[in-house]
Amino acid sequence: MSTPTSVPWGDWLTQLLATDAPALPTAVAMQIGLHLGWSVVLAWLGVAAAVRWWPGQRSRSQRLWGVALLMALWAWAPGTYSPAYWLGLAFQTPSTVTVWLCAGLLWERLAPPATAPSSLSVAVADRRVLALATLGVLTGWALLLDTFAWLPVQWYAWGFSPAASGLVLLVALLPWVLGRSLARSGRFSWWAVPVALLVWVVWRLPSGNVWDAVLDPLLWLVLHGLVIRRAFRFMRG
């Protein structure tokens, strides 16, 4: 029999862990999220490709801006003319963390800081960001195993609960909790998860499930590469 004080606590806990009241994004928000997300990702891919394969452009930021703008606008083309139409068919909407990281990398490429060159690998060199990336890898494995029903709990479904977003927020604050100063280059990466959570709370993007907001399979693959490379460097001393 419940005591008078245990009932509210039990109710509160039930609400916190509940997965049966998901709020999903509106159709308009999803359309905007899809095109905005892919426009940022494409802009970064375009600029990264231009820098790599277009000799002499590294210092011509105006042309890089042009490439970024062109790629970003292309994603907003109508219907089948938009790459977002085809990318969405295969991959849906990129996670907000992916979009934020691409935006950060794009910005650092277009307006490079005076210090070190920008790249995710530089950011991951910071142990705290590396810890986040490792957590991303592990979370992705949990989500993949859950997709194939190889876990006793429904990890993806739990992403509709308020408790999951609280857990993600705690993890997102790790860099601030664990250290006072962080490397300047790649600083945007510290904000990736908090920003994704904010967007998820306000607009429920991209799908209403918090795991889709912080991690997508493509980002998960990239994180594997970064973490493994860092691990090899660590082992070599």
Binding site: P22, M30, A84, Q92, D146, F148
Partner: protein, 331 residues
């Protein structure tokens, strides 16, 4: 059949309000061939006065849906219909992404037209239901939802990338998605059909993808919060979809292919406990190469309505009244 279409499959039945000129609607997918690029969702209505099915028309087109979603839909498949508390029709349609059926998503559509007469009926996409982290693949829908007392419903779906497992999705009376619960731990069960035994006790009868399989069963006693696998039914099943219907306490019906290796026989069986089933009648019996498959059932106006696929070319139907000779035709 819409004119010029050679293939038809996976029908689903929807009862209409008593005030409607039509008693029920049937939806199915049709095109040149299954998984063809021109497959669309077709519909027809059964007129109360004339007792005839209307000429079929397409109500969902993948290009139109893709345009409204903002991203492409590669192919359309099984539709499932439901009417919400406002009388709006919702369609849940299998829509593939970058691949075959294993790359499917469940596309949730809602009636956008003011009226739901067949000529006016139109749909708009709500969303692809978020069911999987892996680019939201690979969930499919097949069987009718289980209506709940609060006006909501539970929609059975299944995952089928490599392995198969069934899942139940909950919706409120407005058609808002309210969560998902895995139904079975067995990695070869698909296309669950939900049968209500009481408000809190339900069965999920499932297609078994294994050769020489039986019909699988899972059980919940808490209104779908938790599910437990039960031993298979004694009924043979040739890896084919089944349809279940709960008419009341101790009154359950099952439409199923009843031979191990062929979809050439379609039976209707009855049970009082969900474990022991007795054949009521054989709905179709053909040669081993014939196919009478993917049944859908509905109880309406004191009759049992059944629709099913014939040889993947057309949709047949039957209306069975207790103690009467079945009426039916093949539109």
């Amino acid at each position: 059949m819409p004119a010029g279409m050679a293939a038809a499959h996976a029908s689903t039945l929807l009862p209409l309000p008593a005030s409607h000129a039509a008693a029920l609607m049937v939806f199915w997918f049709s095109g040149d061939r299954e998984s063809g690029p021109n497959v669309q969702i077709a519909a027809s209505q059964y007129d109360r006065a004339t007792r005839q099915w209307s000429a079929a028309r397409f109500v969902v087109n993948r290009f139109a849906m893709g345009g409204q979603l903002g991203y492409g839909v590669r192919r359309l498949g099984n539709p499932v219909a439901w009417m919400d508390g406002h009388g709006r029709i919702h369609l849940f349609v299998v829509a593939t992404g970058g691949g075959g059926w294993a790359a499917s998503r469940v596309l949730h559509l809602r009636q956008s037209s003011a009226a739901n007469s067949l000529q006016e009926l139109a749909f708009e996409p709500v969303r692809a239901l978020p069911l999987s982290w892996l680019w939201n693949t690979s969930f499919l829908v097949r069987n009718a939802p289980l209506a709940l007392a609060d006006g909501g419903m539970v929609l059975p779906v299944h995952f089928e990338l490599g392995i198969k497992y069934p899942t139940a999705l909950r919706f409120d009376s407005e058609g808002n998605f309210k969560g998902m619960v895995r139904v079975s731990q067995r990695p070869y069960m698909l296309q669950p059909a939900l049968v209500m035994q009481s408000p809190t006790q339900w069965l999920a009868v499932m297609r078994d993808e294994r050769p020489k399989g039986k019909i699988g069963v899972a059980h919940t006693v808490d209104g779908g919060q938790h599910w437990n696998d039960l031993p298979d039914l004694a009924l043979d099943n040739p890896d084919a979809a089944v349809a279940g219907l709960g008419l009341g306490p101790g009154q359950m019906l099952l439409a199923h292919n009843s031979s191990i290796a062929s979809r050439g026989t379609l039976d209707l069986s009855r049970s009082t406990d969900g474990r022991n089933w007795a054949r009521v009648q054989t709905l179709e019996h053909g040669a081993p190469d014939d196919e009478f498959s993917y049944p859908a059932m509905l109880w309406l106006d004191g009759s049992l309505w059944i629709s099913y696929t014939v040889d993947r070319h057309r949709i047949a139907w039957a209306r069975l009244q207790p103690g009467a000779t079945p009426a039916g035709a093949k539109p």
